[in-house]
Symmetry: C3
Subunit: 351 residues, 3 copies
Amino acid sequence: MNRREWILIAGAFAITVLAGILTVFQANAVLIFVISGGALAFLAALVGLATDRLGAQLGSGATGVLQSALGNLPELFVGIFALRAGLTNVVQAALVGSILGNSLFVLGLAFFVGGLRWGTQRFTSETPRVIATLTLLAVAALAVPTLVHNLHTPAAGHEEGLSIACAVILLVVFVASIPVSLRGGPTKLPKEPVVQVHAWSIRLATVVLVGAGIGSAFVSDWFVAALTPAIDFLHISAAFTGLVIVALAGNAVENVVGIQFAARNQSDYAISVILNSSLQVALGLTPVLVLLSLFIGGAHLTLVLAPLLVAALGLAAILSTVITYDGESTWLEGLTLIGLYGIIAVSFWWG
Amino acid sequence: MNRREWILIAGAFAITVLAGILTVFQANAVLIFVISGGALAFLAALVGLATDRLGAQLGSGATGVLQSALGNLPELFVGIFALRAGLTNVVQAALVGSILGNSLFVLGLAFFVGGLRWGTQRFTSETPRVIATLTLLAVAALAVPTLVHNLHTPAAGHEEGLSIACAVILLVVFVASIPVSLRGGPTKLPKEPVVQVHAWSIRLATVVLVGAGIGSAFVSDWFVAALTPAIDFLHISAAFTGLVIVALAGNAVENVVGIQFAARNQSDYAISVILNSSLQVALGLTPVLVLLSLFIGGAHLTLVLAPLLVAALGLAAILSTVITYDGESTWLEGLTLIGLYGIIAVSFWWG
Amino acid sequence: MNRREWILIAGAFAITVLAGILTVFQANAVLIFVISGGALAFLAALVGLATDRLGAQLGSGATGVLQSALGNLPELFVGIFALRAGLTNVVQAALVGSILGNSLFVLGLAFFVGGLRWGTQRFTSETPRVIATLTLLAVAALAVPTLVHNLHTPAAGHEEGLSIACAVILLVVFVASIPVSLRGGPTKLPKEPVVQVHAWSIRLATVVLVGAGIGSAFVSDWFVAALTPAIDFLHISAAFTGLVIVALAGNAVENVVGIQFAARNQSDYAISVILNSSLQVALGLTPVLVLLSLFIGGAHLTLVLAPLLVAALGLAAILSTVITYDGESTWLEGLTLIGLYGIIAVSFWWG
């Protein structure tokens, strides 16, 4: 373990404890919201690091499986606690926001920063094409139940059954896609940047992983409890909070890493990190939460969303497909992606 | 004529007679429905064979024209009888289901089977691109009247005139696209599998064709008459019946052939057979039925569909365009197409 | 200045004076409408010529900026007067019609004519890809406020604020895209046709430009004043008038030029002229009119459109993206584009 890793662990521990103290002493909700949001970002980074180091001991195949399974652990806990608190709308907005945040805002920033510095950037278009395909399936799985509900088709009244069926289909495709990732298919990266890694023992990695997981569970609880009073205090709409704030906080680290890759002209890595993060939410986390919500008490999560969220996802899926399909990116394409994110975010500003 | 051809003719004759006997003796509607559905699949195969053999005598140009004109003869008869019986919804669902069944389920199966066996399969992307373009036009021709009706735009009340105009436009483009097929444009196939064909005389081919055509007309009548009681008995929704059962039965043979091509790594053939079948329904059969419905008595067919059907078509058109545009397919892409078909089929399950 | 240029100037002057005389003497509204529409087409051509000649004196960079800023001057004046007359629907339909007319009808005609004469035409796909990306952003900027309004999301009631935000985002991206055009990015043309140009002095170019601009302002006023009585007289719907007649008249010259390029097998030029014209309306003229409408009196222009207009734009954007993305065009693709234009135009025929 090197110094940066120690700092991350110590930082995550400290901010988690701080969030806990603030919660116990019933500090101002906005403060708790901000601090526990920051703690979640740190813990998400720590889960990612420990997963990576554990995978390094178990082989590259295991890394992929572990990352697919545990990569969104903090977001999973936030989702569970928010559903138990009945905040279905916030959960749906945060899931969509996580997809939009990655595939529009962060991808756009990466293309913008990378393009300004390096001109037209080229990358293997196989990865974004596979991800585009799978993302379109996820959009369809959200669009169909939403349309069934809003168009009052004969299946209206069966939205829960339909959502479960769609969730199972998404999970089957997601699980099937993991070996493709492992065989290096969609995430095959041409020139891996060699990073000298101080090995972690399996024991150490497991301890950190379990610790970060438990920490995530506690912090998620505090974060969700502070959410509603913080929103009320700040007069922001619940949808905007989920779509923009919760979503960006939950993916802060992947975002920074992805943009750094682009700034170093490692476009393949940037795209893989950013779009896989988006895909895991769309094809993994979302259906898992739908199925889990049947058992954890609280509100059942269905795939019936606000129609505007589905339309936003559809526009984002089409735009990012058109932009990445040719294996080239420019700063203007980045700006266009950011522009679409801005249009969507503004449309949810008013509560 | 070789032995397999004799077996096909004899089988088609036998099952047609059986369907007739069951109908005359008023057997159980579900039994008639299943047997006459099977007879339609046999007769469709026979029409295809006779068209091919007749074309072989008349030259390759004529084959294309004949196949475009007669390839969907049994489905045309089913459509006509169903419209006369006032089953507009079933006809619309069957037309959409035929397009979705081919461009999602069968294409997906072909990619899945072929990809598992041969890895990434490559094909000339020109054919699927032309078909994607034409399919998008057909989707638009269904979407616009549906939107006019459901949005109550000023043209609402003129849906029939609008549908006729759209049908004429589709037919003009369809007829114009046939010479492209003949010149080998979109269906130009790089390496034709040489099949030793026992020549048929023009007379024999014509007799078989006329016989199969007349048989199709009778069986279609029995099939449609058994449809409503069979649905009632089985408690399936009419939309699901049209979308999934009628659609898959009507295309059973092309489907098997297409998947066999993919399994033998002849991707170009597989795609050409599967997508052309879908295109003929979208751009040929659908507008022909709209125009015919004005003259045959019974319900007038318009292009005002259930909005969910149009949305499903739109999603299918976009997904299959993105998947086929790059001239490569994988089993995961096949699974994704099947997944979308599953989502759509489930959403019409509840009646 | 050569003879053709003199004829254009004299013609524009004559028809402008004629339109003025007819207006002063209160001639038949249809006559004024037609003559002033023709005058607008002439003045638009003159503005284009003078901009080009002024740019030739100032350097190629300045030409791009000037064309982006002044290329749609007559349409801008028509928009302003129509908004002052409260004809918001006509303005919106004309803006959408201008985009659809270029990216479907004129592009389709260019591909059709060029393809019949030269077979499959090839072009640099970079230009249409950039334009496709930017056009999708513009479609989103129109779709989101329209959906907010029609779905009654929480932001309903704030459509004007939302429209202003979207307009600002579009303008930022538009302005940012101009240097890309200047550096030769999206409009980089491989083999510039060398045309011997008689130089104009800066003074002459400026005088002609100012004169044509002032003329446009007057004629726009007369054109808009004659619009409503002419529509009433001819029993055409206002939407159809804006979508088809005003839109095609306003772009008559670019259209002819673009089709001529295609007929001479200069596909890159054809696509650049036709699609850039469409893009300037979508990303430049539309947001400028939204912002200007806050200050000029009369109706405020928002981006809340008739939903069918937005759907038509979406279909057009997807179809033209799929057709141009591969850098090849055929006459059948041209016919398909024209077919979609026909479907859309018919759906607005009934008033």
